[in-house]
Every structure is written in C-alpha cells, then in structure tokens.
C-alpha cells in the first residue's frame, strides 16, 4: 500500500510541476466561467423553468470543455514514461504493474477533482448576489457533481488506455479524444435515427451522457448510470493493465 501511495503522490505532484496542468486549469475555468455567465444572462432576458445549476451542467459550452479536457489530462501518463525511458527505472523497482496503472489513474482523478472544485464557488456567489437558490434542492448539487465524477472516471480510464498504448503523447491525445467523442455521440444516435423502434431508442438512451446529466442535475439519482460507469471504468482499467503489460512483448 505504501508503494501505491508513493506512486500516487508522485503522479499528483508531477501534474502541478507541469505547465500543461495550469493551461488546462485556466482553459477550463475560462470556459466554465463563460458558460455560467451566459446562462445567468439568458435568465435575465426571459423567464425560464429550470435552475441555473441545470443550465450550467447541460449547456453546449459545458460539453465542449468537458470532452476536451480528458485527452489533455491523460495523454502524458504512460506515453511520457515510455518516451523518456523512465519506465525502465520505474519497472525495475519492486513495484507491481497494477500499482502503477492505478496510481496513474487516481493521480489523474485527483487532478480532475481539483479542476472542478472552483466551480462550486459560482453557485455560492450566485446565491449571495441574487438571494435565489441556484438549484431546486441539495440533491441536485449532489447529483450533478456525482455525474461529473462518474463520467470523469470513465473518460479518464479511456485516456489511460490510449496513453498506455503509445509513446507518442499526441497519438495518445487523439486516440482518447476520438474514443471519448465516440462514446459521447453514441448516446446521441437516438436523435439521429428516426425510424427505429422505441426499444432501440431506450437502449441507446442508457448510454447517453447527456440524458444522464439531465436527470442527475435535477436531483434524480438513477442507479443505472452508476452501474454503467463503474463497470465500464473497471473494464477499461483492466484493458489498460493488459496494454501496459504488453509493453514487454512489444519492445
């Protein structure tokens, strides 16, 4: 366990040593801040029947920033170690492959959580200034951020997998971006296909991140997405573990 912690701390620290982390942080704050600002100004123009929290988590801006950050966070995880050769001292130390894979995943996850923390302030400020509730209930906050954590978990694991497959960070970024958008649009297929049965439509709906966020940000906690994202993350991390081990045969 101590080795895992050591590895995890090194991963987290290395994020904050690299300029990419700060670029991602600034980019994300800019886009999410812009999102929030625009939603508030929409609300000022006409009466609406949803809360600022729902608007914030379901806008185009949100999704735009959302799918972009994952490749940026994960591309260097394994690729950089392969490229610099630091994988050699790392893996000749008495550490297990799964300790390395999990420490990289959770390192990225911690950074992801840090990325989201400042957005909580938006809602605090909103309530302070407008004296209006930012969400319908406490459950809506819980639901929105829970979905952020679940989706993040899944998309970060995809990024880990892409990075474990190549020593080229750009390739890793492009592959993970493609996979993530693929999964993202998979859930949107139901809006494109017109002549499909209701059952197919429902089935595709299970995979729709948009729909999940829609329900969760209203404070409705459906357990199906939880199972979906937890099991998908586990699966992709297992694949990452395999991909990481395959370095021995590919070299």
């Amino acid at each position: 366990m101590r080795k895992f912690w050591t590895l995890l701390m090194r991963e987290i620290r290395s994020y904050f040593y690299s300029p990419i982390a700060y670029i991602v942080l600034v980019f994300f704050l800019l886009v999410s801040g812009m999102d929030f600002y625009l939603q508030v100004s929409f609300m000022n123009q006409r009466p609406i029947n949803y809360t600022i929290l729902e608007a914030f988590f379901n806008s185009v801006f949100f999704w735009f920033a959302f799918v972009l950050i994952f490749p940026l966070i994960t591309m260097r995880l394994f690729s950089e170690e392969f490229k610099l050769g630091t994988i050699e001292p790392l893996m000749t130390a008495p550490v297990r492959d799964w300790q390395v894979v999990l420490s990289k995943f959770f390192g990225a996850y911690v950074f992801y959580v840090v990325l989201w923390l400042p957005t909580l302030i938006y809602f605090v400020i909103f309530q302070k200034i407008t004296h209006q509730p930012a969400a319908g209930s406490a459950g809506a906050y819980f639901g929105s951020y829970l979905m952020v954590l679940l989706l993040g978990m899944f998309y970060l694991s995809i990024g880990c997998l892409a990075s474990a497959l190549t020593k080229n960070q750009i390739v890793a970024a492009v592959v993970s971006f493609c996979l993530i958008t693929l999964f993202f649009f998979f859930g949107l297929v139901q809006y494109v296909l017109l002549d499909v049965s209701g059952a197919t439509r429902d089935f595709l709906g299970y995979f729709s991140a948009l729909e999940h966020m829609g329900t969760y940000s209203r404070g409705i906690i459906d357990t199906r997405p939880i199972v979906l994202y937890l099991s998908m993350t586990t699966l992709v991390l297992a694949l990452t573990y395999q991909a990481f081990q395959s370095r021995k045969w590919r070299l």
Binding site: K3, R10, L84, G85, P89, T92, A93, P94, R96
Partner: protein, 311 residues
C-alpha cells in the same frame, strides 16, 4: 548471485541473444563486454525483469526473474543505460521517492538518502532540479538510486559512458569500493576500466558468449600474446633475418625512422625473447635504443574475439 541458463531473446526479425549461460558468484565484479548491438543491454534488461526472455531461465539471489520478479527486483540495484530520470524533480526529492518505492523503511529513508548522496558526491547538487544536472551528475544520481536499498546485486549498464576522464576515474573508484560489499555486473566499452576493476569478464558477440574468464587468463590465452618492440641501427645487416632466427619469434615487421629501424616482433605466448635480442645486438654490434615488451591488453582480446578476421 546471478544464474543464467540457456537464455534466448528474439525480437521480431532478429535474435538478440542466443542460448546464453553464465553464473556470477557473490562478491564478484563481472565485466560484460561486447560491441554495440551484441546483446549486453538486452541481457541486463532481462536480468532486471524489464524484458521477458523468449526462452531459458535467469535468477537473481535464487529468485526467478520472470516468475518471482518482485523478490528478484528487491535484491537488485539497476542502473539503466543513459540513466532516464524524472526531470521535474529535485535530486533529494527523487531519491526520497525512489527509496520509498524500493521499500526502504520509513525511518531509514533520510539516513539512506543521506548516505548515498555522500557516497556519490551529490551533496552540492542535492537541491537542484534534475533537468539542470550535467551528464556526470545524472549518472551519479542513477548510481545513487541503484544503491538506495542496499541491494546484494548491482547491474550497471555503461555507468561511465559520456563522462570525462576525471569522472570516469571517480566512478571507477566508487565501483571498486562497492565491489567489497556488493556483487556487480557492469557493461562498458572502456577496456582498461575492466582490467582494473573486474574480477571476471564475459565477452559477448552476436548474442553469444565468446569468452568468460579472469582478465589475466584472457590475456594469456590470446594468439597475439603481446610482442616486443626493438629500435636499432643495424649497420649493414638487414635485421629481420637475424631476428627471425631467435626461437619464439614468429613474425617480424619493420618500419623506419631516419636511420633507426623499428622492428615489431610477434612472439609466442609465455616466451621472453628480450635477452636473446640484446645478445644478438651485442654480437652484431647494433646500437640499440629501445627494447620493450608490449603487454597484450584486453583491447587485443576484445578485437581478436569480436573481429577474428582482422586480428
């Protein structure tokens, strides 16, 4: 300490090492020589559990490097070729991290990191970023890292490559001292270094072991076991004919420097022909200004074994 049996590693398209077998005993300093691409790094990487062998077995301190790799790695201090390091860390920070990773007990980390910094002369750069270190210091950080957990065995892949002569001397001294407590397997291209530090030498070529012996035995065993250089004014004599008559002399080649003739004699191993040369010179009234026995070096052994045609 190291036991290698019939180790073979094939990459797509070519075989890096073929059927390698050798043993390194506790307390030995084993030199691992061979031309570039001979399979040195591959062998060392297999021993460090970084690459799996295609066939064959290898063990470190009794632990199989493939099946019990964690225990094997725990007994091993490995320094990779070109010493890859995390550039975004500081020296002490990196060593602390590596110590924890290698399972050095918490309360001993400070002490061990201090010790290896002292031993490898890293005190003056301990607070520096690794990215700002010179090649020589990076090399020392790699060595310090390999020593952190007081491993029984050190595997060093070209520890002196890219260093200046002073640094090479320092590292050599360090390795010699380490050899008192550790078993060491080191690869290098600098042959005098091997002669000075290693108790045994393996020469590998095209993935096969060409020789495995002490440096003394290797030197004794080669065809071209040294020679004698004679510089003389031979007057009307040709010189070559007379010198060839001395028993033990196989071949004589000549060169000229003004009126002085320089004879290079190839002699059979174990024969000293210098007294005969001197007597010949005295008898024929040659003036002699040099009469030296050239010792064969490991370089000769290396060249003979790895380029048999040109030797």
């Amino acid at each position: 300490m190291i036991k290698v049996e019939n180790l073979t590693k094939r990459y797509a398209g070519h075989t890096a090492i073929k059927d390698l077998s050798f043993e390194v005993g506790r307390g030995e300093i084993m030199g691992f020589l061979g031309p570039n691409g001979a399979g040195k790094t591959t062998t060392m990487r297999i021993l460090a559990s970084f690459l799996p062998p295609t066939s064959g077995r290898a063990s470190i301190a009794g632990f199989d490097v493939f099946h019990e790799s964690l225990q094997a790695r725990a007994h091993l201090g490995y320094m990779a070729e070109n010493v890859p390091l995390y550039n975004d860390m500081r020296v002490t920070e990196y060593l602390d991290y590596r110590a924890a990773l290698k399972g050095v007990p918490h309360r001993r980390v400070g002490e061990r990191v201090g010790d290896v910094k002292e031993l490898c002369g890293l005190r003056e750069v301990e607070k520096k970023m690794i990215s700002a270190l010179s090649k020589g210091y990076r090399q020392r950080v790699g060595l310090a890292d390999a020593l952190l957990h007081e491993p029984d065995l050190l595997i060093l892949d070209e520890p002196t490559i890219g260093l200046d002569p002073n640094q090479i001397r320092q590292v050599r001294e360090l390795i010699k001292n380490l050899g008192k407590q550790h078993t060491i397997l080191l690869s290098t291209h600098i042959l005098p270094e091997v002669e000075m530090t290693c108790s045994r030498v393996i020469i590998i070529h095209h993935g096969r072991i060409e020789a495995c012996d002490t440096p003394e035995n290797l030197l004794g065993g080669i065809r071209q076991a040294g020679g004698v250089v004679v510089e003389a004014k031979t007057g009307n004599d040709d010189g070559v004919e007379e010198l060839k008559k001395i028993s033990g002399v196989r071949e004589v080649s000549t060169d000229k420097e003004g009126e002085w003739k320089i004879f290079s004699l190839r002699v059979e191993s174990g024969v000293d022909v210098r007294p005969e040369v001197f007597q010949l010179a005295a008898a024929r009234r040659w003036s002699l200004r040099e009469l030296t026995q050239r010792r064969a070096t490991l370089e000769d052994v290396f060249v003979e074994l790895t380029h048999p045609d040109e030797a």
